[in-house]
Amino acid sequence: MTNIVIDSCVYVSHFGKDKLTHKSKAFFKRISQIGTQIILPAIVEAEILVVLRQNGATHLDKISQLLSQMEFSPLNKKLIEELTSFLESNQSPLKTSDLIIALTAKLNDATLITWDKQLLKNNICKVATPEHFSEY
């Protein structure tokens, strides 16, 4: 089964309405049809909830429930140890949250799915847009 980490912007675009919503919807439809294991970093779930609430969403419990079956990746001491080890031998221009998300993908041998250009350029983990991933 293919492991994927989905970035917050893809979820927010799916749960909200923006110019990429139709493509995000198509991506979630596609992954519901194929065998993929979704890994959900704690920071991603937190960002989804905060951004949606800031944009007026009132059904956060329903969204949390939909995310509850995914493999949750906590921000804990073990991850900080992995981060320390990574930083000791690598230089990365990524911001803390971006780095944690990319590192989570790398540690789980997962592809990071994002609309974000900064993360699409990262060289820590495999990366694809939802559109590109859906083609396979």
């Binding site: 675009s13 909200g16 329903k62 609309w115």
Partner: protein, 80 residues
Amino acid sequence: MTRTQIYLPEEMHERLLFLARLENVSLSELIRKGAGLVIKTKQKGLSPYRRTLKMLAAYPDSLRVTLADSATKLVRGQRD
């Protein structure tokens, strides 16, 4: 509960009304029961994970909020 409007063929409507009277329930309640059965049948055999993925993919438009900016910019704003 969400209010929705549907069109039913006349014969089906009459039969449902008859069944509702027979079971002493409202037409809405009977239709809800039927919809529940359809969902149950469709989801039979799916793991909770796959079921959730199907539900995630079928997230209703009525619950989608209009975002103040693109999702990418909004999330980027949280990180920068």
